[in-house]
């Protein structure tokens, strides 16, 4: 198995998951790239880390009626063997986002995450119907206040603007203000029972109901089509639009392939890689809006395979990826909160998006505070030789008492971190640093410290900010 195969596998696992240790990369590379893609796309029987009810017995401070749902989500990202499934849950949460500050019902948020797990790689048409019926979303975007004869446009507008088509494409608007109103009319009567927020009725998961008495059943004209449309009819019209294919393709590209600007800029800024977007759009229509098919085409494309290190890692990718690299939190123990808080301090907390638009990505993750937080956090972990994953790296470099060259040490560390590459000048600086330690004897008392130090310097480099 060549280094090239393992480097490609490291790339796939960073993007289609939250990274993997070297041993897993070798095993997957032996199985083959396409086979691994298929396994990620079809995660039927894999262990998920721990079911919520079990997790709550170990982490007694978690109680999904009150809190603990974002923490449990993070736990799953670290430990689930269905890595792409969790990565897609995060994908959808970033687009179809709700905020606990308004919904204030984690039990309802949990139901939403489970829906993303269930539907995250199936039909986009079904996903749009599901999210329109999702109790947390119905409450978050006020569709429960959208009544026959007195529409509330909040959901109707965001369904078009943020969830499916986007404001415009190629400089043209995708829909009119009248379309927003007609869309909103079609979703009247799509409401919930049981209270969100919790008080004063206590904490129950809200349920979706369709109230025919509050539904506007009159004729509507939406995107040029006319009929007595209900919400599902609207979704059927939306998914047929070229704008929808473009919008979903750009989201998948931005999330998995390369940073491509913030969503509000998409109306006027064309995709940076129009060919790949076109390929995804075609697969969208060919497969009947099937997300799994689009992902298959994407991961097997050359554009994806050559896109290493062209995305800034999000805070969640950074924290979860570090835990998976060093092998911490593979089983429950006290003190998870500070790990969870790290990603908050780096600027990303599930169910607390900065706006209904979700998180801005790419370079916007980085500012003076968050950069220092990120570098120090990863540095503290990879510099700790007690972490099992770090021990593995040290042992993989050898314990036979033989001498390793400074170059061998630096290259070995880079490889074990997932085949990272540094600019020549930077790599030379690290080699120069290692050469000052005299003869580097594998298995010596100083050896783990030296490996840890080189790892700390690598993760502080600009190149390591990228995935």
């Amino acid at each position: 198995m060549s280094d090239k195969d393992i480097a490609l596998m490291a790339h796939l696992m960073r993007r289609a998951g939250f990274g993997a240790q070297y041993g897993e990369l070798e095993a997957r590379a032996a199985k083959g790239y396409e086979a691994t893609v298929e396994e990620l796309l079809n995660p039927e029987d894999h262990p998920n880390g721990l079911d919520l009810d079990l997790a709550e017995r170990y982490f007694i401070e978690w109680n999904h009626f009150v809190r603990g749902v974002p923490e449990y989500f993070m736990w799953r990202m670290i430990n689930s063997e269905s890595q792409l499934e969790e990565k897609m849950v995060l994908f959808w949460h970033g687009i179809l986002c709700t905020a606990d500050s308004k919904t204030q019902s984690y039990i309802t948020s949990y139901v939403e995450l489970e829906m993303f797990r269930r539907c995250g790689m199936d039909s986009f048409r079904d996903m749009l119907v599901e999210i329109s019926r999702d109790p947390a979303m119905v409450f978050f975007l006020d569709n429960c206040l959208n009544h026959k004869g007195a529409i509330n446009e909040n959901y109707g507008r965001e369904l078009l603007e943020l969830f499916s088509m986007g404001v415009g494409m190629d400089g043209q608007f995708n829909y009119t203000e009248d379309d927003v109103k007609e869309c909103s009319r079609a979703f009247t009567g799509w409401t919930i029972t049981n209270a969100i927020p919790a008080q004063p009725y206590g904490r129950y998961a809200a349920q979706f109901i369709f109230n025919p008495d509050d539904h506007d059943d009159d004729v509507k004209t939406f995107l040029g089509e006319t009929g007595r449309f209900n919400g599902e009819d609207i979704v059927d019209i939306i998914v047929k639009q070229p704008a929808t294919a473009r919008f979903l393709s750009r989201h998948l590209y931005s999330y998995f392939v390369a940073d491509d600007g913030q969503v509000p800029s998409w109306m006027d800024t064309p995709p940076q890689d129009p060919e790949t977007i076109k390929m995804l759009e075609e697969e969208y229509f060919r497969s009947g809006y099937d997300i799994r098919s689009m992902l298959r085409v994407l991961f097997n494309s050359d554009a994806f395979k050559i896109s290493r290190f062209s995305k800034v890692k999000s805070p969640i990718e950074t924290v979860v990826g570090t835990m998976r690299l060093v092998g911490d939190w593979t089983s429950p123990k006290p003190g998870f909160e500070p790990i969870f808080d790290e990603m908050k301090h780096m600027g990303q907390e599930p169910f607390n998006p900065p706006s209904v638009e979700g998180w801005h990505t790419g370079k916007e993750w980085i500012d003076g505070g968050t950069l220092v937080q990120r570098i120090n956090f990863i540095g503290d972990y990879v510099g700790n030789a007690n972490q099992p994953g770090v021990q593995d790296i040290i042992e993989s470099l050898g314990s036979d008492g033989a001498i390793i060259s400074p170059e061998g040490l630096v290259n070995g560390c880079l490889r074990r971190l997932g085949h990272y590459e540094l600019a020549d000048e930077t790599r030379d600086m690290l080699i120069d640093k290692a050469s000052k330690w005299g003869k580097l004897r594998k298995g010596s008392e100083e050896f783990p410290g030296h490996v840890g130090h080189i790892l700390q310097l690598i993760v502080a480099a600009k190149e390591y900010i990228y995935a």
């Binding site: 905020a99 606990d100 500050s101 308004k102 204030q104 927020p197 940073d259 800034v312 808080d341 908050k344 301090h345 780096m346 600027g347 607390n352 998006p353 900065p354 706006s355 209904v356 638009e357 801005h360 790419g362 370079k363 916007e364 980085i366 500012d367 003076g368 505070g369 968050t370 950069l371 220092v372 937080q373 570098i375 120090n376 540095g379 503290d380 510099g383 600019a423 000048e425 930077t426 600086m429 690290l430 640093k433 130090h453 700390q456 310097l457 502080a460 480099a461 600009k462 190149e463 900010i465």
Partner: protein, 378 residues
Amino acid sequence: MTSEKKDTVLVVLQMSGAYDALNTIIPYADPLYIDNRPVLRVEPEQVLAIDDKVGFHPAMAPIKDLYDQGKVAVIQGIGYPKPIRSHFRSMDIWHTAEPEKMVTNGWLGQAIRELDPHGENVLTAVNFGRGLPRALAAAGVSVASVGNLETYGVLTGIEGKDQRVEALEIFSNMYSQAIGTGPVNDYLSQTGLDALKGADILSTAPQRYSSSVEYAGDLFSQWVKNIAQVHLSDFGTRVFYTSLFPGAFDTHANQPTSFAKLWSEVSNAVSDFYEDLKEHHANEEVVILMFSEFGRRVKENGSGTDHGSGSVAFVIGDSVKGGLYGEYPSLEPSKLDEGDLQWNNDFRGTYATLLEKWMGLDSKSILNGTYEQFDLIK
């Protein structure tokens, strides 16, 4: 010390968790206060009276002293349209100055951009705490965020002084190279170098500082001390920010003990800070804004108070015209908003006052509108 007039400085102290405004500035003579607060009320003889209607909670004696010296503006009945009783959303509204919709940029982040449009000083704004409050966030604005001034820095996990010095040199070289191309790499380089430079400069503050004032040992007091240390080091910082820990004032239960303890810590910290500035002849250039995200329910729940709306805020400093501003909201049941004090002045009026009259900025673009200002700056 030069005779030249110093740049004005704004210090924001966030009282997280929503303090009970009714027991902070207390309408002690109002029979409705007594009726609504059978257990939690502060008896009139204990209230530190401002006039025959309202007064400070007894734990706030150090702030009352400053008030008596004419240095505290009490902004009564502060709030925002369509009050929301969620801590997070409400704090967000205070941070972004935008009650209608969720937005990304903070009001101070935008102010910092106006103060230092080319990002010339990496320390124009400094936050003490874990993570950057959204108030300070704005695209392209660099803010130093410090958890612990004594240990703040890049690569703090590297052991051994010489090792670390060398590591920082490597870091600086790594971020100085024009590796790769394109705006993202340039931006990352600049941010990395700014952070390193900021940490370098900040780390000298504790050594430069000496004072006869001794701050208390709690985290908040220490952060307030850090603000004094950095301000007195003359790094050109114009905006400082620090917060009580999340939910500190969220007194749904057992309010009397925790409420008094918090106000006592905060008031002592503020008063120590003022004395510290005075000792260093820096008292005229600093103004403090102290706020909480909302007030609490008028009617107590037996041992605490639940989330409410109308609140009270404080602007403190030598350059402040002390006194009562705004109106104390009525406790008449018909005047309450779902059992809560009805706000009567928009918090953005206070922001506009500070931005325009203190920081010399145009508030309209930052606040997305024009708000009635108070005449509270000398």
